[in-house]
C-alpha cells in the first residue's frame, strides 16, 4: 500500500511547533544575556559540571513525575504527572514508533505525532500489536489525568484542593486547546482504526464501536484537523499563558542547581521564576489569608501572573504576611517572598504593557521604576554612649508593648550574672525591618547605621534580642562583628552552661513558631528545647516549617484589623485544640496578637522561664544588691 507522506492538516501543528521552538530558544538566549556576569559564570560552570546530572535528575523527578506534589497531595500529583510524564512518554515512544515502523528513519516530528493517520493499517499483529498496546496505555494514562483536570476546574475539591486559580481569556483558550488535544487524538485514532480495523484496546475497541454506526472513514479526517489545530493553538498561545512554565522550568532548574539565587534586585533569575510558575494553586491552599480571612486574590500565583501580564500589582504586593508558608510549599521551589520583596522595593511602576500581544516580547523585568526617595530625617535620634559590656540586650519596639517579656528578660539576665546592658531601655530606635518590609530600604539603612554605632561602641560580643523581627534584620542586614542571639537561644545557652537553675513547671505547653524566627531564620529547636526543660511540651499539627502565622505580621500593610483577628483566632484555635495550659511563643508580636483572641494563657518563653527560675539564684542577686547598699552606706 502506498504510504501517504503529507496532508494539509498538519500545517497548524507545524507552524505551532516551529514557532514555539524558535521562541523558547530566543527567550533563553535573552535570559542568559541578562544574567549578571558572576551568574553567567555560575550557569556555565553548573551546566558543564556536576550540577548537570543533578539538574537532569530534578527535571525528571519534578518536571515530569512531580514528586513534591505527589508527596503533598496524591490526586493532584497524579493529575500533573499523567499530563506531563504521559505526554513526554507519548512523544518519546511515538518518535521511536515512527522511527521503527515508519517508511524511513529520522522522520519530521509530525510523522510521529500523526503516525496512525499515515500508517492506518499498522498494529494488527505481533510486535506491532504489543507496541500499539503501549501507545494506547499511555494515551489512557493521559486521558485519566485530563479527566481529573477537567473536573478540578469545575469542582476543585476532587483533587484535594480547596481553591483553584481563576483564569483570564487567553488562559481559557489555551486551556481549552490543551484539553482538546488528547480527546481529539483519541477520536481521530479511533475513527481511523475503526475504518481500517486496526488499533488496540482503547483506539481499536472505541473505533470499531464507533464504526458500527458512524461513517468512520469520513469522520476521522475532521478530528485529525482538530488534533493538529489544538496542538498548534496551544503552542502559539503558550508564551502568553501560564503554560510557559513548561519550557521555563527546565531553564530554572539548571539556574538554581548552578547556585543562582534571587537577590535584592529584579533580574533574569526573578524573571525566569515568574514564568516558571504553573499557577498550580498550592500556594493558595497554604495561605492563611485565604483559609482564615477569605482573601483570595493576593497569593503568589496571582502576583506572578500579574507580573507576567504587566498588571498593576501594587495592592497585591503589600497585602501579604510574609510568613513564608508558600515558599515552603511551592512544588517548583520558587523563592516567592524574595520576589515579592523586589516588588515592594520598586516605585510606582508606570510602564505596564496594556497590550496582551506585547507579552510575547516582554523579556526583562523592566517594569519596576527606580523609587525616588527624599532624605528621611532620623537625626533626632539621641547620641548614645553605652558603657562597655559583654552582652547587649535589645528589646525592640514590640517588646516594649509587652512589658512582661521585657521584665522577664531583665530577671533572667540579672540572675545569670552576665555583664549586660539594656540597649533600648528608654525605647530606642526601630531595628529597620518594618521599613524594609515596606520597601523603604534607604530609610531603613539610616536606622541600621544608628543602631550599629551603638552596638559597636558598646564593645559587646553578643547581641540578644527578644523580637524575631529584629533578630532577622540584625542577622541579615547589619554588618556587625557580634553574635546575634534570639533570647530563646540565649536562654538555651544559659541552661547548657548551668548559669541559671530552673524548677520544672507541671504545665502542658504548645509552642507556636514565629514566622521570622522559624521559616525566616531557621531557628526551630532551641525554643522547644528550652520549653522541654521547664514544662511538658506537646505537639501540634503545625510544627516547624508548617507552623502558622499569628496574623499580626508587620509585613502586611494592607490587612484590616478584622481580617487580622480572623487569622489570629483561627491559628490560636488550631494550636490550642489539645487544651494546653499555656500557648507559648517566642515573639512579642505573636503574644500580643494571640492573647487578644484566645482563652488559653499566652506566654513568651522568657516569661515561662522567668516563672520557673529557682529561688536561690534570686537570693544571690538580693545579696548582691544588699552589698551595694552597704557600700553606698559606707561611702556616705
Amino acid at each position: 500500500m502506498k504510504v501517504m507522506q503529507f496532508d494539509p492538516f498538519i500545517i497548524p501543528f507545524n507552524i505551532g511547533l516551529y514557532f514555539i521552538l524558535f521562541y523558547v530558544v530566543a527567550r533563553s538566549v535573552i535570559w542568559f544575556r541578562d544574567l549578571s556576569r558572576p551568574d553567567k559564570l555560575r550557569l556555565q560552570r553548573g551546566f558543564f559540571g556536576k550540577a548537570f546530572g543533578a539538574s537532569l535528575k530534578e527535571i525528571f523527578l519534578e518536571g515530569l513525575i512531580h514528586r513534591k506534589i505527589l508527596k503533598n497531595n496524591l490526586r493532584l500529583g497524579y493529575m500533573h504527572m499523567s499530563l506531563a510524564f504521559g505526554w513526554f512518554l507519548l512523544i518519546l515512544f511515538g518518535t521511536i514508533e515512527a522511527d521503527i515502523f515508519g517508511s524511513k528513519h529520522l522522520n519530521a516530528p509530525y510523522k510521529a505525532i500523526f503516525f496512525r493517520f499515515f500508517n492506518p493499517e499498522h498494529g494488527r499483529m505481533g510486535f506491532e500489536r504489543a507496541y500499539g498496546f503501549l501507545m494506547d496505555l499511555i494515551l489512557a494514562f493521559i486521558l485519566s489525568g485530563l479527566l481529573l483536570a477537567v473536573i478540578k476546574r469545575f469542582y476543585s475539591k476532587v483533587v484535594g484542593m480547596k481553591k483553584t486559580t481563576h483564569l483570564k481569556a487567553g488562559d481559557k483558550i489555551a486551556l481549552i486547546s490543551l484539553w482538546l488535544i488528547f480527546p481529539s487524538r483519541l477520536l481521530a485514532e479511533s475513527f481511523t482504526s475503526g475504518a481500517y480495523g486496526s488499533g488496540n484496546f482503547l483506539t481499536g475497541t472505541l473505533g470499531s464501536w464507533l464504526a458500527s454506526f458512524l461513517p468512520a472513514q469520513q469522520m476521522a479526517y475532521p478530528f485529525w484537523w482538530l488534533y493538529s489545530l489544538s496542538l498548534g493553538t496551544f503552542f502559539v498561545l503558550l508564551p502568553v499563558t501560564r503554560y510557559m512554565h513548561i519550557p521555563t522550568e527546565l531553564f530554572l532548574i539548571f539556574m538554581r542547581n548552578s547556585g543562582i539565587r534571587t537577590g535584592h534586585k529584579a533580574g533574569s533569575y526573578s524573571e525566569v521564576q515568574i514564568h516558571a510558575c504553573s499557577s498550580c494553586g498550592i500556594c493558595i491552599d497554604a495561605c492563611q489569608l485565604n483559609f482564615s480571612a477569605g482573601i483570595t486574590n493576593i497569593q503568589p500565583a496571582y502576583l506572578l501572573k500579574g507580573l507576567r501580564k504587566n498588571e498593576d500589582v501594587s495592592d497585591i504586593t503589600f497585602n501579604c504576611l510574609m510568613c513564608g508558608r508558600c515558599d515552603q510549599k511551592c512544588p517548583v521551589g520558587l523563592e516567592l517572598s524574595p520576589i515579592r520583596m523586589i516588588q515592594r522595593r520598586g516605585g510606582e511602576g508606570e510602564n505596564y504593557f496594556k497590550n496582551v500581544y506585547k507579552g510575547y516580547l516582554r523579556s526583562r523585568q523592566n517594569g519596576i521604576a527606580e523609587k525616588v526617595n527624599g532624605s528621611p530625617s532620623y537625626d533626632f535620634l539621641p547620641e548614645n554612649e553605652p558603657g562597655k559590656v559583654d552582652v547587649l540586650y535589645f528589646a525592640g519596639c514590640m517588646t516594649h508593648l509587652t512589658p512582661s517579656i521585657k521584665n522577664s528578660m531583665i530577671k533572667i539576665l540579672e540572675s545569670s550574672g552576665v555583664n549586660y546592658s539594656f540597649m533600648d531601655a528608654d525605647g530606642g530606635a526601630c531595628c529597620g525591618r518594618p521599613l524594609m518590609l515596606a520597601g523603604q530600604d534607604k530609610e531603613a539603612r539610616e536606622l541600621i547605621n544608628y543602631n550599629s554605632q551603638i552596638i559597636w561602641k558598646s564593645g559587646a560580643h553578643t547581641l540578644v534580642t527578644s523580637c524575631p523581627i529584629c533578630y532577622k534584620v540584625f542577622r541579615e542586614s547589619y554588618y556587625l562583628d557580634v553574635e546575634v542571639l534570639h533570647h530563646t537561644q540565649f536562654i538555651k545557652m544559659l541552661i547548657d552552661e548551668g548559669a541559671v537553675k530552673m524548677r520544672f513547671l507541671r504545665k502542658r505547653v504548645v509552642y507556636h513558631t514565629p514566622c521570622d524566627l522559624g521559616r525566616g531564620s531557621g531557628v526551630y529547636d532551641e525554643p522547644k528545647e528550652v520549653l522541654r526543660h521547664v514544662a511538658r511540651l506537646e505537639k501540634t499539627k503545625f510544627e516547624d516549617e508548617n507552623s502558622l502565622c499569628c496574623g499580626g505580621s508587620l509585613a502586611n500593610l494592607k490587612i484590616s484589623s478584622g481580617n487580622k483577628k480572623m487569622i489570629a483566632k483561627d491559628a490560636a484555635g488550631y494550636l490550642t485544640k489539645g487544651q494546653p495550659d499555656i500557648l507559648a511563643t517566642a515573639c512579642p508580636l505573636c503574644k500580643k496578637t494571640f492573647s487578644a483572641v484566645t482563652e488559653t494563657k499566652v506566654a513568651d518563653i522568657s516569661e515561662i522561664v522567668a516563672d520557673a527560675l529557682m529561688e536561690h539564684t534570686v537570693k544571690k542577686n538580693l545579696s548582691k544588691q544588699l552589698r551595694s547598699i552597704k557600700e553606698l552606706a559606707n561611702i556616705s
Binding site: 530625617s377 508593648l401 525605647g427 515596606a438 508587620l554 478584622g562
Partner: protein, 114 residues
C-alpha cells in the same frame, strides 16, 4: 486691666480654600479605616519618635484631613513605620498604612518624594 483669665490669641484660621485634599482622598480610598479615628491619641503616646520629637500621629491625622500637606510632608519623614501605633489603636485604624500611603501619595500627586 483685669482680663478675667481670658487672653487674646493669635489668629488660627485654617484656609480650607487653599488646602489640598488629594492626599487625604487617596488615603480614604485605599485605607477606609482612616475614618474610624476618634483622635484619642493612643498612637502618639506609644510612638518612639513622638517621645523624642514633637511628632504626633494624632496631629498628623488631623493635618492630613485638613489638607495641610506641607506640614504633613515634614512630619512623616520622621516615622520609622515600626507599627506600635497600629497595635495600640483601640479603633483598629491601620495607622501604619496611613503613613505609608501618605508617602506614596506625595510621589503620585506632587511628584516628589518625602
Amino acid at each position: 486691666m483685669n482680663k478675667f483669665g481670658f487672653t487674646m490669641t493669635r489668629g488660627r484660621q485654617i484656609d480650607y480654600e487653599s488646602n489640598d485634599k488629594s492626599i487625604a482622598e487617596y488615603i480614604y480610598s485605599k485605607e477606609p479605616s482612616f475614618r474610624l479615628c476618634i483622635e484619642c491619641g493612643g498612637c502618639s503616646a506609644t510612638c518612639t519618635t513622638g517621645n523624642l520629637t514633637s511628632f504626633s500621629l494624632r496631629e498628623l491625622h488631623i493635618l492630613i484631613k485638613r489638607g495641610e500637606n506641607e506640614k504633613v510632608r515634614q512630619a512623616i519623614k520622621k516615622c520609622m513605620l515600626c507599627g506600635k501605633c497600629t497595635l495600640v489603636c483601640p479603633r483598629g485604624v491601620n495607622t501604619r498604612n496611613i503613613v505609608f500611603l501618605a508617602k506614596q501619595a506625595f510621589q503620585i500627586y506632587e511628584g516628589n518624594a518625602v
